[in-house]
Each structure stands twice: as structure tokens, then as C-alpha cells.
């Protein structure tokens, strides 16, 4: 130790160690404040959406009351005395979403398993890109393709289902009109649901601990045995969450359904028969006719219902995915 450093140490000992301030500088506090503001914009927007839709739908809700949710009709011009409600519209929205999920969930699980477990390592990224590309195709394009290209092919399927499985009530029809049915809309919407649920499920499946998978294989299990015993139980949360996120997307699908469906306001259980509806498509189709007044207010009320419905589904879905053991650390 030389002299200079000795002196330095002694002077520092006199003053004590330099105190380290835990307080942030003013610039840092501003930085954190701005970042927080950016984060809170999402909350503010969500709040404002709810608030303004509520304000604008107030007059329709005042006229219709709770019957808004139980009435099926919606006359072209709404007056103070008309009976209108979204019962039929919500019914068909849910029906189309359920049809879409019945098709999309098994396909998503299979695709996610294929990408995560079966495909060669070099194929995984291209396959993921393909699924993402399916998500990037605009809803409008799905609608045009579904209406002009897919519909003629699905009419054959509808006819077959009706002829051979007609004893099941939902496959019955009162008249043999198979165009523009909830079934066709559901098939097209399912194509839009698949990419979303697949990407969530794939991410959860690929987080399965390698050790447990190898243990199952080392015990002599086949690959399917390993998947059934390890990967699927591990990914239950992701599968449920992915399906629910898909449900949220299916409920809010607008233009594709608006192109395919021919809107009706009578509740019917026949999914193969022409005629259906959806809240989003109804708003899009009726908006230009309801400029101002009660009609617009009623559409706002329908929009508020849709907003709350999808918000609830999405919050529950992200809660399930993030809370499940499998989903730890995964953001959807």
C-alpha cells in the first residue's frame, strides 16, 4: 500500500462512506411517470369505451328496459313504443361462435401438438409463420372467399348432414335452403379462430418441462403415451385459455359474418338453414340506416353488450392462462 492511497482512505474514513441516494433524479421520475401514463392509456381507453357506449345507449335502454335482452324483434324504424331487443341476435352470435369453436378447438390442439412435438425442428418456424399468416388475412377476405368459394362446397356438406344425421334436432331444417346459414358462417369464423388458439396452445405445450417428457419416454412410453401423460395435462390451462380467447374473437367477428349471413330476427335451432345474425354484423349492416335517434342508440346498446361480453371472456381467458401452472410466464 503506498502513501497516497493511505491518505485517501483516512480522509474518507473521516467523512464516512459516501451516502448513496435511493431517491430517483427528477428526470427518472418523469420517465417513470411517462411510462406509467403510456400503460394507463389502455385502461383509460377501455373505461371511455364503456362510458360513452353507456351514455349513448341510455335512451334506448330507457325505452326498452330489461326487455332489451329478452325481445327478439327489431323493427326497421324504432319509436318510443316499438318492441326491440337483442335476444335473437345474441343467440345467433353465440351459436356461430360455438360452431366455430367446435371445429377450431380440435384443429388447434392438433396443430399446436404437431408444431410443438411432431414436426422436425427445422419446420417449426415456417409452420408458425404459416399459422400467423392465417391470422393476418383480413376478415373481409375471409368473408368474400367464404361466400363465393366455400359456400357452394359447404352446401353439399349441409345437405349430407341433414339427410343422414337429420334425426339430431339441430341438423333438421324446415325448408331446404342451405345458403347463408349459421353453419357456413361458423366454419369461416373457425378459420379465423384457429391461428389465435393455436399460437397460445403451442406456446404452452412448448413450455412442458423437458425432464418430465424424457422421463415418460425413458419409462418406455410411446410418443402418444408421453403426450397424453405429460404434455396434455400440463397444457390444460393453455388449452382452455386458448379456446376462450378464440371465443372472444369469434363473438366479435364482424365483416365476414356480415357478408355470409342473411340476417333474421327469429330464434331457430336449425343451424343448417339459411338465416342467422350476429351483434357485430347487425351493427355494421344497420348503421347506415339508423342515422341518429333511437335506432342509433339501440345499436350503441348492442355494441355495449358485445363489448362487455368479449371483455368478460377475454379477461377470464387471460386469467386462466396466466394462473395455470403451465402458463407461468406466458403472456397471451
Amino acid at each position: 500500500m503506498d502513501d497516497a492511497s493511505g491518505v485517501a482512505t483516512s480522509t474518507q474514513d473521516d467523512r464516512g462512506p459516501r451516502s448513496i441516494s435511493r431517491n430517483r433524479t427528477r428526470a427518472d421520475r418523469a420517465y417513470r411517470g411517462i411510462a406509467l401514463a403510456g400503460g394507463m392509456v389502455t385502461f383509460v381507453v377501455l373505461f371511455l369505451i364503456g362510458l360513452f357506449l353507456l351514455v349513448r345507449s341510455a335512451s334506448a335502454i330507457r325505452v326498452a328496459g330489461w326487455r332489451f335482452f329478452t325481445t327478439a324483434g327489431w323493427p326497421p324504424f324504432l319509436t318510443e313504443h316499438s318492441q326491440f331487443g337483442i335476444a335473437a341476435i345474441v343467440y345467433y352470435t353465440v351459436e356461430i361462435a360455438v360452431i366455430a369453436l367446435v371445429i377450431a378447438v380440435p384443429v388447434s390442439i392438433a396443430t399446436a401438438l404437431f408444431i410443438a412435438e411432431y414436426a422436425p425442428r427445422s419446420l417449426r418456424r415456417p409452420l408458425t409463420s404459416l399459422v400467423d399468416l392465417l391470422a393476418a388475412v383480413p376478415s373481409l377476405i375471409y368473408g368474400l372467399w367464404g361466400f363465393f368459394f366455400l359456400q357452394p362446397k359447404l352446401i353439399g356438406v349441409s345437405l349430407w348432414l341433414n339427410t343422414h344425421l337429420g334425426f339430431i334436432p339441430i341438423f333438421q331444417v324446415t325448408e331446404k335452403l342451405f345458403r347463408s346459414s349459421p353453419f357456413i358462417a361458423g366454419v369461416v369464423v373457425s378459420l379465423m379462430v384457429v391461428p389465435i388458439s393455436t399460437s397460445v396452445m403451442r406456446e404452452v405445450f412448448s413450455q412442458t418441462p423437458q425432464g418430465e417428457k424424457e422421463a415418460a419416454l425413458a419409462l418406455g412410453g410411446t410418443r402418444w403415451g408421453m403426450i397424453r401423460a405429460v404434455v396434455l395435462p400440463f397444457g390444460v390451462g393453455g388449452m382452455i385459455g386458448g379456446a376462450m380467447l378464440g371465443l372472444g374473437r369469434a363473438l366479435g367477428e364482424t365483416i365476414a359474418v356480415a357478408i355470409i349471413i342473411s340476417p333474421i330476427l327469429v330464434i331457430s335451432p336449425h343451424i343448417l338453414q339459411s338465416g342467422g345474425n350476429s351483434v357485430a354484423a347487425w351493427i355494421a349492416l344497420r348503421f347506415s340506416e339508423s342515422s341518429g335517434g333511437l335506432g342509433l342508440s339501440a345499436l350503441m346498446a348492442a355494441g355495449l353488450t358485445l363489448f362487455l361480453l368479449t371483455l368478460g371472456v377475454n379477461v377470464i381467458a387471460s386469467f386462466i392462462v396466466s394462473r395455470s401452472r403451465s402458463g407461468s410466464g406466458i403472456e397471451i
Partner: protein
């Protein structure tokens, strides 16, 4: 007792012990010609069987039904053959593998079909003037080659551009809050971002209509459409950007802080530049989502037949809205001029989306290789 490996007697003994009588080594993961033969045999035999029954014996026809019957018969034949050869356990395993593979690969069918169909239909009426002229004075019955979508393309560019200017700064700031600041509200903010990404596009349009047009008494304009689009882009940008920021190594942050730079400088000069290419991917993915949205535009920019360069006043057209209105004019009649125009617009739209998507993937790849 130690063995001298150079001792010829010991070496002979060990080689003798290592070489089993005659069985070749088994590689469980290797491709065996046996399996390939079973696969091909099952597919060909089921094809022949289904063709015989479906086309000749039973009163059925149609390509879709044929393919479905073929796949089902193939799975059955494949399972029976594997069961005879390898036993039930292996047969189930192979059956599930083949079934999952078929489902996953069949997802390609709609994708390819959409691209081919839109390109095929869109090329009918595609001319250079489609990109140069607007629809002023063009009636629905006039030839599909009259008029164009220049006004829609300009509108789309301006609206998406304005939406980018709003949602990119806000989205990246939100991502910085979630991943860099990590304050008390990180979890709620993340939940709000997730919830916002589920907002249906039509609701975003209704909201802007309610607040911008009804409350503040502005008229239909491209800017209102841009506001609605930015609501839809914001969560996409924020989420993708957060994922990208998470990839920045902690060592860089700690090095910067240890050198005495404040937090804002660490984020601004170290974290964000490191994540630049990933952030570009986030922005482009947001654009790809926004450029194809139709529903919110119906109630915000409304659409027009003439060129409107000013996004802040008066109705403005955009590409998806152009397609939607032409589709409605056509009334579902194939081959009508409006139908052809709608598909030409759809063709232009899907080309734009594809280009954006490919650019996003290229940026994403360079980010991966740099890591």
C-alpha cells in the same frame, strides 16, 4: 485387477463381449423402409377401395366427400396393418401421429385456396388505371375496368400512417412500463392490454363515432378512422414490443446502470436501440392488422367515390371500405362489374398484407440471428 488394453488377449475378449451374436443396432428414431412401405401401401389401397365403393358402387359423388372418405379409410387401414405388424400400442401411437399430421397439414388448404382464389378473381379487372384513377362518375353498371381505387389507396395510406403515429409511441411506452419500469401496476396494465386486444373492431368504430362525431361534433373523416384503427393497433404493438424488450439481455441494462447512467438513459440509449429490429416487427404486425380492418371504417371515414387528400375533413375512402362497398353494390352476383372491382380491391389488399407480413418476418429473422 487392472486390464491392459494393449494385451491382445484382453482386446479380443472385450471385442467379443461387445459384439452381440448378429442383431443389428436399433435406432428408435430412424426412418425405416418398412414404415414408409406400410404408409404408402395403406394410402394406395385405401384410395383404390374408396374409389371402387364411392365412385362405382355407392350412389355418391363429389370431391370433398371422396377426400373425407379416403382419409378415414386410410386411417383405418393403416391402424389395422400397424396392429398386425407392431401390436396395438405402437399402432395407436402411429395412428395419432398420422392423424395430427393430416389435420395440421390440411390447414394449408384454406390458406392456399384463399390466396389462389383472390389472385385469380382479382386479375380479371386489374389494370394500371386501377391504381391511378378514382371512382368519380363511374356507375355500378359500367365496365369493371373503368375507374379505379387510387382514392382508396391514398386513404388507406394516410389513415394507417396517422394510426401508426398515435399507437406506436403509446404502445412502446406501455411496453417500456411493463418490462423496464416494472412498477406496482405492471400486472394490471398487462391485463388491460390483453383485454384491449379483445375489443371487437366494430366496438372501436362505435366508440369513435360516439366520442368524436357525436360528442365533439366533428364530421366523418380519415382522422376519425385513424383513431379507431389506433385503438385496434395499440395492444398488438404493446404486446409484441414487450416480448421483444424481454429478449434484451439484462447484462446490458446492468452495465449501463453501473456506469452511472440514469434509468431513462438506459432505456433510451441501450434497451430500445438493441431491440430496434424487433420493434420494427411489432410496428409492422400492427400495420398488417390495421390495414385490413373494415368494420370501424363504416362509421368513421364513411367512404366516398372521389379523391380526398385531406384526412382531417370530409369522408375518405380506404381499400377495405372500397371492397366492402363494391361488394354490396354487386349484391352477390358473380361476374358483375362491382363484383370484379371488389375482388381487384381485395387482391390489392392481400398483396399489401403479404408484403407487410414478409417484411415483418425478415426483420424478425435478423433479430434471431443476431442473438
Amino acid at each position: 485387477m487392472s486390464l491392459d488394453v494393449n494385451d491382445p488377449a484382453v482386446r479380443a475378449e472385450t471385442t467379443q463381449r461387445e459384439a452381440p451374436p448378429s442383431l443389428p443396432p436399433v435406432r428408435p428414431g430412424a426412418l425405416r423402409w418398412n414404415d414408409v412401405a406400410v404408409f404408402l401401401g395403406a394410402s394406395v389401397s385405401s384410395l383404390c377401395l374408396v374409389w371402387l365403393v364411392y365412385e362405382r358402387l355407392a350412389p355418391t359423388s363429389g370431391a370433398l366427400g371422396f377426400v373425407i372418405c379416403w382419409v378415414l379409410t386410410f386411417l383405418l387401414v393403416y391402424w389395422i396393418v400397424e396392429r398386425e405388424l407392431e401390436g396395438p400400442l405402437v399402432a395407436t401411437d402411429r395412428l395419432v401421429a398420422v392423424g395430427i399430421g393430416i389435420v395440421a397439414v390440411s390447414l394449408l388448404i384454406p390458406l392456399v385456396s384463399i390466396l389462389v382464389y383472390i389472385v385469380y378473381q382479382g386479375l380479371h379487372a386489374l389494370t394500371v388505371s386501377f391504381f391511378l384513377r378514382d371512382m368519380t362518375g363511374v356507375g355500378p353498371q359500367q365496365s369493371a375496368k373503368a375507374g379505379g381505387a387510387a382514392h382508396a389507396i391514398v386513404g388507406s395510406l394516410e389513415q394507417v400512417g396517422i394510426a401508426l403515429m398515435i399507437s406506436v409511441p403509446v404502445g412502446i411506452t406501455a411496453a417500456v412500463y411493463m418490462n423496464e419500469v416494472k412498477g406496482n401496476l405492471t400486472r394490471p396494465v398487462r391485463m388491460f392490454v390483453n383485454a384491449m386486444s379483445g375489443v371487437p373492431s366494430i366496438v372501436a368504430g362505435l366508440f369513435i363515432y360516439a366520442i368524436w362525431l357525436l360528442q365533439f361534433h366533428h364530421s366523418f373523416s380519415g382522422f376519425a378512422a385513424a383513431l379507431a384503427l389506433s385503438i385496434l393497433m395499440l395492444p398488438t404493438v404493446a404486446r409484441t414490443a414487450e416480448e421483444v424488450l424481454r429478449l434484451v439481455p439484462d447484462g446490458l441494462r446492468e452495465a449501463s446502470l453501473a456506469l452511472g447512467s440514469p434509468e431513462w438513459r438506459t432505456t433510451w440509449s441501450v434497451v430500445l436501440p438493441t431491440a430496434r429490429s424487433g420493434l420494427v416487427t411489432a410496428v409492422i404486425l400492427g400495420m398488417a392488422r390495421a390495414v385490413g380492418e373494415t368494420a370501424p371504417l363504416i362509421m368513421t371515414s364513411f367512404g366516398t367515390q372521389t379523391m380526398n387528400w385531406n384526412p382531417f375533413s370530409g369522408p375518405q375512402q380506404s381499400l377495405p371500405l372500397f371492397v366492402w362497398q363494391q361488394y354490396q353494390l354487386g349484391g352477390g352476383a358473380q361476374g358483375a362489374p362491382a363484383f370484379l372491382r371488389a375482388f381487384t380491391g381485395a387482391f390489392a389488399l392481400i398483396i399489401v398484407v403479404l408484403i407487410l407480413f414478409v417484411i415483418a418476418r425478415l426483420f424478425g429473422r435478423s433479430k434471431l440471428s443476431a442473438r
